[in-house]
Amino acid sequence: MDVPYLTEQLVNGLATGSIYAVIAVGYAMVYSILYLINFAHGDVIMVGAFAALTLIGMAFPVPAAILAACAVGALVALAVERIAYRPVRYANRVVPMISALGAGLVLATLAHLVWGPEVQPFPQLIPRGNIEIAGIAVPQQALIILGLSLAIVMFASFLLERTRLGRATKCVCQDIYAAQLMGIPVNLIIPLVYAVGGFLGVAGGILFAMYFNAVFIQMGLLATTKAWAAAMLGGVGNFYGAALGGLMLGVAEMLAVVTVGSAYKDGVALVIIVAVLLLRPQGLFGRRVVERS
């Protein structure tokens, strides 16, 4: 285990982690409002990634294709919100979770029907290869993905902190009823947050597809679990916590691959999360939240 190998792996870990971060922030935004585990989030992302693949295959210019795919993700997220969540928003907590799961399964099956069960390669829009930094070869694609992901997270942070939508979202997070009384259109904000979550998620999903050169149906569940793990690690419902949690999860998985082999990397992530829960139940950067009933 020499230094160049470790550096390369570290950059890879950071790149994967930054992708998790992008997927996790949209997820954390939804969670912080409704305290609902959005089981369909990953499947929305999967559909978006497939849409990007199709659009690029139809010879659309790449930036337009990616933007359109993100928009598809936002639309699907809106539809899921309208069909699966809104009718059960105020029911017992377990009810929306189950309907979310059902929506995810329906999306996965639809994708299966449209795009087939095979793992499909994703076009390499960012050249692979190594560049030398201080005499150490660093994978170029990983670096670019890291940069892009951080830019997306910063864009999301700008949305949340500096726009009217962001401030309204924060109000709804704090107290949904008080926000309603203050004239914030809650029934507009919640679908919008879902749409933004879907948009960002698909952006992360496309980076994921590019990095691993694969789009597949099970990607949805994978993305859901990773996003949730990242959000939980960083502190649930906390935007920046989710981003940092994603980065840390990526690095932790990389360490697991280096030390015990790639088959057990999900297991290592599980052990880390359980340990964090035992020692710091509110997550690494979270505040304590009282469980809503």
């Binding site: 585990i37 377990v94 189950i98 099956t109 599980l270 829960l277 509110q282």
Partner: protein, 332 residues
Amino acid sequence: MLVARAGWPALAGIVLLIAIPLMVTDRYVLYVLNISMIFAILAIGQNIITGWCGMLTLGHAAFFGVGAYTSGLLAVDHGWPFLACFAAAGLAAGLAGALLSLPCLRVRSDFLSLITIAFAQMFFVVVNNWTELTRGPMGLPRIPRMEVFGWTARTEAEIFWVIGGVLAIVMFAVHRLVSGPIGRAWEAVRDDENAARALGINVTHAKVQAFTIGCVLAGFAGSLYAHTLRIVAPEMFFLEESLIIMQMAILGGLASLPGSLLGAALMVGIPEALRSGNEWLITLRPGIGGALLLAMMIWRPQGLLGRLRDAPPFLLALSAALRGLFVQRSRR
């Protein structure tokens, strides 16, 4: 004693249990009934966790697998008798459930649903890769038949009696549990956690208890499954199975024992009845299941046999029949 406590419906159930294998001679029908009874035990376990205590678990198949592998390995590698394997399977699954749920449930029950997914994936990876112990993806063959005090269940009818006996005991025990203070504590936690806490219920304790009991049932079911099919393989306990178990619990009705029976019978029976190598059916099955979950949550969160005041008449009749068979008429 069983009769004295649960009354005539229980007696009728026991008579039916003894009579069905004598009347039904088709081995395939009996086999399907056996499998649905095993899944009914699983669905009851899921129902304790999700229906009575309001927690979502998506790893029930993994605990099922823990039970099946514990039982199978002890029988094949160490020659333990069936009853010892059966007990060990319940114990192992319960222990795994308690250890997994304790850290999550101290915080929020939401964590549990994702941790159980992760656990299910982990279980699959470990069982698939730890070839020296589990024989890996090829599965663990030549598990001995079920044998109780020197009597071995050889025909499907005899297997029916063993599984049916376990199911009857499970239903009786769970019925006693959920109609007593423990079950009421679970329901209180499900309906309003803060109110439950204010009433002096130890919320964490109640949740871990419900989860552990659900997992113990999954372990028992796993042991029965292993000794019925006589082979276990990793992909028998994948995430899809967990989803199917949950669909059983929800379709029949959350917090309803007869509902779990009905859900298991439907979810095992319908695919078997339609089994004709239909490619599209296999493709569509998760989607249909998902749409089912969605529709049930929006229009009938109480399930087919849940609270029945506004149910269609044929369901009322069916439910009354099932209820009469299996559940003591309650104080209502």
